[in-house]
Amino acid sequence: MDIIVCIKQVPDTKDVRLDPETNTLAREGVESIMNPFDRHALEEAVRIKEELGGTVIALSMGPPQAEAVLREAISCGADEGVLVSDRAFAGADTWATSYTLARAVVTLGNFDLILCGKQAIDGDTAQVGPGMASQLKLPYVTCVQKLRTMDETGLVVERMMDDGYDVVRLPLPALLTVVKDINEPRVPSLKGKMRAKKAEIRILHAADIGAEEQCIGLAGSPTKVVSVFTPKPRGNRTVFSGTPAEQVEQLFAQLRDIL
């Protein structure tokens, strides 16, 4: 089973905070991490490989420093890391990102399965997985919480819904996006870390994947950001005091209007 896992490098949101004084983003020491959902996608891919054999390629689009998440992926069991990187990709929205990653997949050649995280925590769009499936004309299922069975012909998965879950069968090749319920990711082994250090990360530029200029980066993005602003700070705040019963009294008086 040959699997491609799409992994994005994202800023760690716990570090992205609003400076209450200036109302701007305080980003001292904002660290880049592997998108948490993608970690689960990677783990699932490695588990499948361990069971059925095959290869796992970690694929990322991003600036040169995104290489770090690919090395991390290798330390967690991926065989290879491929970084799609080019100044021409800057400003890509989910349409252009889906296109670019799909072109990279075509360039890499044979595969049976593509795994993505449900969403990236910086943009929270959850659009790149289905977008890639559309580009590549693949059957897909989003928000997979469990892989039930799998063989050369297809897989049976549980897709998380708002009101429960569906059990879905789909043929291969296919694309899945996964939620964190699917597995518990492993920590990298020492051997894995050594391998990651030495591994060569393959870089693909726009020309290498045959990307059309009007489909990548800002030019290929149908959405445009008009403005960015900080949300209104929350309104008045009240801290109650006294015994638990007294505090409950005060709260109840306030909530009366809402309830």
């Binding site: 889906s98 928000c143 960015v228």
Partner: protein
């Protein structure tokens, strides 16, 4: 590309401070852009000397914008009911349609959905496109996507809205991609720009730490998924008149490569926390599964549902669909009562837009108190039952 005009740049560093991505630094009195730049434009706006601008080629496959007209709402129908977010979208869509002077249509797929059409009209739709087929009883990404795509190609609406639900967020991106259309995820505000009739879509980014307004200047339709519970439905008017358009789809569109073997409705997950007006949420402070019974009693008394932090979900006290936060769901209820939750940023981003937040925590320094409208410092095992009783008593009266 983000271009720095070296003549105009005064090296003030405002851009550096405003960049959420760490993509600009000031070196030798002039701004320098690195590879982290995502062209979000925050710096351009804040640059007083106007030394920054974004340049790039425009997509060449532009469509003729004038050929696209009308506002569409995808009305999600599952297990015999229309998702409440559809009515909210009709409320928002009505305003957009009126601002543009165009009609508002709802699109509904399913098995036995005819009856739903009248309800959609009562909530504001001028037309309802009904695709009724036993094959549509189950949700399948490819079938829903293809039918929607073909309807849009035929009818050419200028705007297509769908709920940011599990279904909407899974098949709408496929439709947008196939149509070369822009799609904005999880919007919390929509408006028409008066000058040119463009749809302005506002959504939180960075877990709500910044807001971005997005437009689709050259592509049609302008597509958006909209977060449940942020738009207001209009009061339904059963006397409203509208047109019901039955759409026969060619069999080819109904053929699917995926097969739904079973659809499991879990009793506990049946309430979608994103649709609730009142949520009582619990965290590690609840200590065990039993703790959630306390919350459930309070939630029942308030007519709300129970939500949780990741710590509680990871401990196995409550299933994942109840998790609020960065790796869970984003909610914006009228009232959010956080019990024994510290308020870590990853949790906060999922609930900070709630209208009223009540926090109960015994640690007076817990970050959740920075967000809370009303803060109660103390033991939740004492406070929650007192509150439940108080409300019960009051109801009895």
């Amino acid at each position: 590309m983000l271009i720095v005009d070296k003549e105009k740049c005064i090296g003030c560093g405002v851009c550096e401070a405003n960049c959420a991505f760490g993509a600009i630094t000031v070196e030798d009195g002039c701004a320098v852009v690195n590879d982290r730049c995502t062209l979000c434009g925050a710096c351009v706006e804040n640059c007083e000397p106007q030394a920054l601008r974004i340049e790039g080629a425009e997509k060449s496959n532009k469509v003729n914008l004038d050929e696209w007209s009308g506002i569409w709402v995808f009305a999600e129908f599952r297990h015999g009911v229309i998702a409440p977010v559809a009515f909210e979208l009709l409320g928002a869509g009505r305003k957009l349609a009126d601002a543009r002077g165009v009609s508002l249509a709802a699109v509904v797929f399913g098995d036995g959905v005819e009856a739903a059409a009248a309800e959609l009209i009562a909530y504001g739709a001028d037309q309802v496109y009904v695709v009724d087929d036993p094959e549509l009883a189950q949700y399948r990404e490819d079938v829903y996507g293809r039918i929607m795509e073909s309807l849009i190609r035929d009818q050419r609406p200028e705007v297509v809205l769908a709920g940011a639900t599990a279904i909407g967020r899974s098949f709408i991106p496929q439709v947008a991609n196939a149509l070369n259309a822009g799609l904005t995820a999880d919007c919390t505000h929509l408006a028409i720009r008066p000058e040119d009739g463009m749809l302005l879509q506002t959504r939180p980014a960075f877990g709500g730490n910044i807001m971005a307004t997005i437009e689709c200047p050259h592509s049609r339709p302008q597509m958006a998924t909209v977060r449940p519970k942020v738009m207001a439905p209009m009061p339904p008017d059963p006397s409203r008149q509208g047109e019901v358009i039955r759409v026969e789809v060619p069999e080819g569109l109904l053929r699917s490569r995926v097969e739904v073997l079973e659809s499991v409705l879990s009793k506990q997950d049946k309430v979608n926390i994103q649709e609730m007006e009142i949520l009582v949420a619990g965290g590690r402070g609840l200590e065990n599964e039993k703790g959630f019974e306390l919350l459930r009693e309070l939630a029942d008394e308030l007519g709300g549902a129970v939500a949780a932090s990741r710590a509680a979900v990871d401990s196995g006290w409550i299933p994942y669909p109840h998790q609020v936060g960065q790796t869970g769901k984003t909610v914006c209820p009228k009232l959010y009562i956080a019990c024994g939750i510290s308020g870590a940023i990853q949790h906060a981003v999922g609930m900070q837009s709630a209208e009223t937040i009540v926090a109960i925590n015994r640690d007076p320094n817990a970050p959740i108190f920075d967000l809370a409208t009303y803060s109660l410092v103390g033991d939740l095992f004492e406070i929650v039952p007192l509150l439940t009783n108080k409300i019960k008593e009051n109801r009895g009266r």
